[in-house]
Symmetry: C2
Subunit: 426 residues, 2 copies
């Protein structure tokens, strides 16, 4: 990234030395993981550019927006409705982070046995290396898992603009009412932050923008049903990850352009791996940038990932919001309906998720499922055991993996993944 950004990063309060280290590691990992892939779609050059500028140009854009009076809202979860943020004339960016940073400092505030994703979010704050976090005018936490719920109590002492959204644990009438009440409270908080009241027009437009973004990424994901797969799991995951950072309209256009290319590939029977390559569905915890560990292992072991049943994947993007509402009230009902379908493991029971995994296995012609669990993520790790059992009862092979962001277990994971691929080939 250009030297021009250094003063911007300084203004944001970043630790430039630490940030240089981060960018160096990120650049190398990207080079080794992504640019070394064969037969990548040409359209992925857009994402290469986005990633090379993820702490540069995109932050510059956000700073320009701020200079023009627009507010930036940061979020850690797919339950934070981008529709409301956009309608209040603000920009939503994802804050989840996928790398260990400042772990010694983090473990003074959080137990060692906390999931890597939560520790990472603290590490990026304590290490002063996340320009998204530092540029956000409001940081939205949410009561999903115990880990995040309790961590926000400590994060609230590190930042002065944390807003915490409550969430239901059960999909009952009361649960839905709670979600709706929280979305209405969030709407009011956004309006107060931006000074811009949400109108039927602005909300309709916002719903349309977010729907278009979700439809585009879903179009891309659906094209992976083809054999040979026209795009690698790594590249598709990257698109899912950039979903949280990029300008929505530009993201939608870029993804649709890649889809045009992929459709051509499918027509021409061109893929990133040979026809008949074992096909894997990854299911479980979100994989945030730059957590590319598992797909890197899988796709260098003779298999291709054809789907992500994950918040950074279909769980997060699956459903669209109905666009028929005429009033703000009706549109918020539609938004509640849409988000209420997200089948996160925080819900009990959460049987929809198993049904979705099975649907995805069928749609993507997956030969097996790798359940990706972040160590100490209790909801997904606990749910993985009945999920594995149910899949195996339907003769769908399943490998349960529990890992973190460290690289110490890559060799061991590769051995297990290779054995699993051999199993599903047999």
């Amino acid at each position: 990234m250009s030297e021009n950004y250094r003063s911007m990063w300084t203004d944001l309060g970043l630790d430039l030395d630490a940030h240089d280290v981060l960018l160096g590691v990120l650049g190398n990992a990207y080079q080794e993981t992504f640019l070394s892939q064969k037969a990548r779609p040409e359209g992925m050059s857009y994402f290469d550019f986005v990633m090379s500028e993820v702490h540069g140009l995109r932050i510059k854009e956000l700073m320009d927006e701020k200079a023009a009076g627009r507010k930036i809202v940061g979020s850690y979860c797919v339950f934070v409705p981008e529709e409301l943020v956009l309608a209040a004339n603000a920009t939503l960016v994802g804050l989840c982070s996928g790398a260990d940073f400042a772990m010694e400092e983090v473990e003074r505030l959080l137990p060692r046995n906390t999931c890597a994703l939560i520790k990472s979010s603290f590490g990026f704050k304590l290490g002063k290396v996340c320009p998204y976090l530092e540029s956000a005018d409001m940081i939205v936490g949410e009561n999903t898992c115990d880990g995040k719920k309790k961590a926000y109590e400590s994060l609230g002492l590190l930042v002065d603009n944390l807003y915490v959204m409550d969430l239901p644990q059960v999909k009952s009438e009361t649960g839905r009412a709670l979600l709706k009440g929280e979305y209405l409270r969030f709407k009011a908080a956004l309006e107060e932050l931006t000074g811009v009241p949400i109108t039927p027009e602005s909300l309709r437009k916002a719903i349309h923008t977010v729907n278009a973004k979700r439809a585009a990424i879903h179009r891309l994901l659906s094209l992976r049903q083809a054999d040979p797969a026209p795009i690698s799991g790594l590249d598709a995951l990257l698109a899912n990850q950039v979903f949280f950072y990029d300008n929505p309209e530009r993201f939608t256009d870029s993804v649709n352009k890649i889809c045009d290319e992929l459709e051509k590939r499918i027509q021409d029977n061109i893929g990133v791996f040979p026809t008949g390559t074992p096909r894997i569905l990854v299911s479980g915890c979100p994989q945030a940038v730059p957590n590319w560990k598992l797909p890197m292992i899988v796709e260098t072991s003779g298999a291709v990932i054809v789907g992500e049943e994950s918040c950074v994947g279909e769980r997060g993007t699956r459903n669209l919001t109905a666009e028929s509402g005429q009033t703000v009230e009706a549109m918020i009902e539609a938004i509640v309906d849409r988000y209420y379908q997200v089948d996160c493991a925080i819900f009990t029971p959460n049987s929809d998720r198993l049904a979705h995994i099975e649907e995805m296995v069928a749609a993507y012609k997956a030969d097996g499922v790798i359940h990706y669990g972040l160590q100490f993520c209790q909801p997904y790790i606990m749910e993985s055991i009945p999920v594995e059992k149910a899949l195996e009862e339907k003769n769908i092979p399943c490998l349960r993996i529990e890992t973190d962001y460290g690289m110490e277990d890559v060799g061991q994971l590769k051995t297990r993944v290779e054995a699993f691929i051999e199993q599903i080939k047999g």
Copy 2:
């Protein structure tokens, strides 16, 4: 325990061999931990008897109640209102268990990184060694922590009478409404189970019975404010534990009798340890029978435990329910008010708990706090870090302990506890 119970245990489906092993271990542990103590109050002989008959006479009583048409309700949490259970002509017994059993089988259903309390509850079921669980007509689970919430999904496959109660995560108006709605739903479920409608009379009587029980145990706990302490922390914990198993009226009478004796002791300046013995408040996770590990270590290391800020302790028993309500509706409001004050770490924020710890430190003249965390109990372990920080800012020494039910770390814990006691003496 007498041979007479073997046919009862067989009828309940217990694994007699495994159960014999459990009773043997329990008996030995009780002998070594409790009966070896010096200067115990005479009234503790009641609890010695209760413990010697905990799987015998008490179960026989429950079976007799069942034979007479009364229902038994089992619970794992202090949020299950005994008032409603009694008012519907049923008996509530605690099902939490404090020992590892059938761990190999358990870890096929639950991740290894699950807290010992949850794994233990599964172990007692899978090992067929818990007569309380087997005699229960209804088992009540509750959405407290992620661990329990998700574990109940699997427990529901092992038992055919699981009822799950939802709980709020935030003490807001919505949160209180959720709790009230769940208590009303529970009332209906109890009435359906027993066929006995809850009336103003039965509910008033039940509230009175439970209040008397709580008042008695609270009277006992308050007497520990004296120096020298008239009762050991081990014996007080035992009373707190039996609270969950015993017949309420008999428990109340027995505890009050011990209190009379303790008051006499205080008058005569008699204690279980010398005046000036370092005084410890234990705060954190519940300690269920036979989990006596921490107090055993503390009280054989030159200190006395003077209070438990715990669900098996003052957090669970602190508040009484107002008895002024005239209608079932008004009494249920009072019950909601009472339980809503429980400051479990599942709530966010949970600042009441810190205030209560500080109050208890002052009231019990504690020299320091040991925060007791069950490994992988995310809510309490996460909360322990800000709690420790806040206490130390007020010059209250705090030792954070994270452990399980195993005995492997006893030596290491003893070293840390001894060092802490030296620190607070200095």
